[in-house]
């Protein structure tokens, strides 16, 4: 399993409440929130969950919909064409930043 797939799977598990709080999944979720909050603070991506969902091609901004997708090909596509955003010191794929921002927003809203 690729590291990215592992992290996304871990995220899914954490959000579903099946992983303990101190697990790698919880760490990955915390990382995503940290990056997402930084991206939102810097204005790197939209702060509107609906707009983020549309940009990601999702029918709605819920985490369940987000985590049901397999994002790796899209992220690799971003990286291959250098479609990247500079967030919190990291150069990340646009899709990754949008996902992190959406996670930060939905977590903040306690969705």
């Amino acid at each position: 399993m690729q590291r990215r797939d592992f992290l996304l799977t871990s995220l899914l598990a954490a959000l579903a409440g099946t992983a303990p709080a101190a697990s790698p999944a919880a760490q990955a979720l915390a990382d995503a929130r940290t990056i997402g909050r930084a991206a939102l603070a810097e204005g790197t991506v939209s702060a509107d969950p609906a707009a983020l969902a549309r940009a990601l091609g999702l029918p709605d901004p819920s985490l369940r919909t987000l985590l049901a997708r397999h994002w790796t090909p899209r992220i690799e596509g971003d990286l291959a064409c250098a479609d990247t955003l500079y967030t919190a010191g990291w150069l990340l794929s646009r899709t990754e930043v949008q996902l992190c921002a959406l996670i930060a927003l939905t977590q903040a809203a306690n969705v």
Binding site: Q2, D31, I35, A82, Y86, A88, G89, L91
Partner: protein, 530 residues
Amino acid sequence: MIFDARSLSEGDLIDADICIVGGGPAGITLALELRDTPLKVVLLESGDLHPDPETQALYQGPNLGFQYDPLDEARLRFLGGSSNHWAGNCMRLRPIDFEQLDWMPHSGWPIGYDDLDPFYDRAQPYFEIPTDRPYDIDHWSSELNLPLLDLDPDLMVNMGANESPPTAFGHVYEEALRQADNLHVFLNANVLEIETDINAASVTALSVACIDGPTLRVEARQTVLAMGGIEIPRLMLLSDRVARNGIGNEAGLVGRFFADHPAIRPPMRILMGRRAPDLDLYSTTHSVENGVLYGAVMGSDALARREKLPGFMFNLFYDRHSPGALAATNFYRNIRGGNDIPYLSSQVANLFTDFDGAVNAVHEQVTGARDPLIDRDWLGPWLSFECVPNPDSRVHLVDETDRFGQRRIALDWQFTEQEMRTVKRATEIFAAEATRLGLGRVWTDVLREDYDWPPYVARGKHHCGTTRMSDDPTTGVVDADCRVHGMENLYIASSSVFPTNGFATPTLTIGAMAIRLADHLKSSTRSGSL
């Protein structure tokens, strides 16, 4: 033949056809090119065969501008000069480096790359580096069976560099200098003044002094200054008995346009991906027949012309310091010192998003261990870049004097806005390429809007530009033959003549230029003008 000038008598006169001042790579290469000729060549070296603190202290002078090493540590003053402490990196300037670029004020050499190319070939053996296609990185990639990065040529290209052992010229060529009948090397001989005729158009003699020894005079038909880019303007400015502004300084250019090769080490850190391309060609050196070489990446000519971007290169080295480790170290140091933590939110983010690195830093701090607790591959590319010619970046005499009563020289190194633009754009471009090529995830603070120069900006201690070359006496100190404008018998062999210095380390070019000058002097001899 090698002599100790201190063994001569007070007031002794030394005569020569050619006198070379300075026994570093330029002076020694020039001297060796002139051996076995009918010419009597005298080489004056300030130091001895080994370092001496009293002689080294002659370099002292204040730093008034951008951060720099103490001047008496930046260079070495004994036979072999600064080749006694160099890293050995050899590369050639690029053809574009010689061009007059309309977007780079004061750029352009009066000679082109093709004029220097054959001398580069002849210089290779002096530096004990490969002679068979030494910079053909495609060839060496194939020979070594190590892949090249598939860079976008509109942005960046691969390049090859050679690594000298590094050749310590004094040690390696001492015996050759001793054996040559027409070469007369005088150690511990400090040149205090260039004496001229009443028109300051011809060198008549050099005034020489030894520490705890005699004063001497050297009379030569031709004189070549072969010291570094700070000591040459110092001597020219000190020689103001006839020419009140110093020798060769009618246009006020002696000492101006000081340039070096600054470097950010590193401007970014890359968490290597599991499927990252093999970087072995770049991350370490490779022995081949006749020497050692390695790969690097540089901005392409297309990029330079399109974006008006000066030269830059990246060395692709692995780095044990990750963003999380650096953040943890910053926390520790600042809290311990009672200081505020700069960029607190970013540092916190790094602690969390690079938890492995933070754990490693804490582990090393607590246990004193040198090895990381969690193995992660990080690349920390080094960025070296070109400074554009800047007349306000200069060296000049100050009132403080040395043990001979000679005024010392100050360095006032100044950047323009272009240098920061180069750092940011080069970082942005390589970060994008590294991401596109799947090297890994890039972290950098250089792209922050408020990024400023870090507390330590590395420099090559490559003193360039202070006696720049130009066909026009109003825009240069020496002509295309390295002869000082307005002086019939004074030449310069040094990186001080480089009008622009690209990003390439200068030592090989210094050697090539010295060989070219030797040919010119030999040709002058044959034509009867010497």
